[in-house]
Symmetry: C4
Subunit: 204 residues, 4 copies
């Protein structure tokens, strides 16, 4: 874990390219971060295009979200920091904004429930399809501290969580590495599509 | 802003390739333009394939739409010029013809309304999801001056507009650069898909 | 029009690659032909994979469908020859087997009707959206001469035709060149998707 | 058929890349195998990402599933071996986990029936659309021997089978070569999409 800021920034740049190629961060949506050290978070600068990032578009903030170089981090930095505080093993937080995440967050209220999917085994601690994973849906809010409070209350009550949705906005998910966090994005995306299509597909 | 005609033509060629790769200008549909100077507009020649453009497929017209080289510009040149007259900061107008723009323009009458999308912040002057953006839908007409009159009347009454649909035909959107106009295409396309899928996806 | 057999074969190989890349000729479905001379048709050998064709997979038959080299042409050669007999200007016939052609041919009986699409202008002789184009749907039949008879009767009664569907099987369309025939494939594909989605998308 | 283990491993690596590029093996789902000799099966190591395989991710087991190198093969090895026992001509088994295989396995109980598709001719022994092919759907089970028993009972009763679904999990299909097995994946995928879309698309 002796990776430098540059190493992490490069990994976030690549993650942005992967997400953009899959249509998950349209226009300048989404934001990406990595925890380098307890008091040092690498995060995308506000307003950048996630498919065309360079390492110059990645900046550092401290654990309180204070910029280390005067630039403005992603507006939703507080949501990233909250996850790093709660999950000591989490090193990467990805927020994407796909069509399916947006649609499911607007079609379903409160929570999306996934059951009987073999792919649930993609999440840590799950080794059977015969389980239930819940992704809460929060009402969108431009007031990030107020939104963070609602997320905090939910996570206090539901410690088993691998991602959450913000209505009309997208998904937050995380992991111990960029690779793991991208796996979670891929798994959630698959599950969102399944749930949406099931609602449009009536069994005979 | 000392870009030459060749510079602008090359940008339009690239925009055509981007739009075609995304299925947004099937067959020879769509047209693209850029305002080089108050009296000089670069625009695609009539009937060209937008995915295979070369700079030779881009021609110049004056502010009244008169060809500078004898070739025939896109049949809908009048719709481009109208937008340049109204919006002094607009340098690029893109008309695409995607499946989703076509479908939504035929499924919804008069106007498509977008609300509670974080992605609305992609448009200039919008900084919250808690707003309402309207894209009017005009009945298709091969008589372009008559169609332009209806667009004009709508824009007089609704100054906040970032794009409009023509039924069974596609979207017009614009911006201060090719990059901005493509961002608007991308954002509208995302919103069209969401609205269409919501109509096919019944919430539980 | 002094192109050799090799020239035409190469064009059909490229058309196969284009169609396969777009998912229009899954597995070994589809067949492609070109008329070199009144009594000489280049056509894909039976059972070939249209995405991996080489010019060795293209053979010649005469106007009666008799093989010039002993190999067996596509089972549906008779349907190609029928079109060359009827349309003197037609030099290329493409039969593809896309998901949407298959679906629409199974969802709609007798004929698919397209109205109020700007893209109808992609077909020769159509210069307005305010028209009506019909694509007949024939019941699938492994007995090609019997199927050809039904197509013949339809075309006698409806001279304005740019393509026809066989149920559960796909589309036949044609043109004066590979480029034109591919344009017709692209236009029909767009129209099929629109019509299918409209049936799944309920207007508000 | 003098291919070495390395030859087969390389073919499975390529099959994994093809399946991943088409979204058919998300995250670390799916598994792939080839029978080199009666008592020697090449199979993917447990937990590997099928889109990023190297030949080092392919291991050997004997006909009873015993590892030849101490590594752990895919959890579902027993399902592969069962198919090799039953079908002497089968050299390749592919299990994929696409969106459509997952969805159809959850939307339809017991069996999916395909009729009147020209593409049914892609399967060995079928030479007309006027037939009926059935793909059974088994309830998912982490107990592989118990699941294999149900598959065995079905195959005893229904000898004409080219693939089966596990609910919420995906498809098993097979063939005498990687090429043939991939053709069957492609054909099933096409048929799954058609059947799903028909359920979402109401004929007029």
């Amino acid at each position: 874990m002796q990776r430098t800021f540059e190493d992490w920034a490069l990994e976030l740049v690549k993650a942005g390219q992967i997400l953009y190629a899959q249509g998950m961060v349209p226009v300048t949506s989404g934001n990406l971060s990595a925890r380098l050290a307890p008091d040092s978070i690498a995060i995308t600068v506000s307003g950048t295009h996630k498919g065309h990032l360079t390492t110059a578009d990645i900046m550092q903030v401290d654990a309180a979200g204070v910029s280390r170089d005067g630039r403005r981090p992603s507006a939703e930095t507080g949501l990233h920091l909250q996850l790093y505080r709660r999950f000591p093993d989490t090193h990467v937080v990805l927020h994407h904004h796909s069509l399916y995440a947006t649609l499911i967050s607007q079609s379903i209220q409160d929570r999306v429930v996934f059951e009987n999917y073999e792919l649930l085994k993609a999440f840590p601690g799950i080794d059977t399809h015969a389980t239930r994973l819940e992704a809460p849906v929060f009402v969108n809010d431009q007031d990030i501290p107020r939104l963070a409070e609602k997320v905090e209350a939910y996570m206090d009550a539901h410690p088993r969580i691998h991602g959450y949705l913000i209505s009309g906005h997208g998904l937050y998910t995380w992991g111990d590495s960029v690779e793991t966090a991208l796996k979670h994005v891929e798994a959630f995306e698959f599950l969102f599509k399944c749930e949406l299509m099931k609602r449009g597909v009536s069994p005979p």
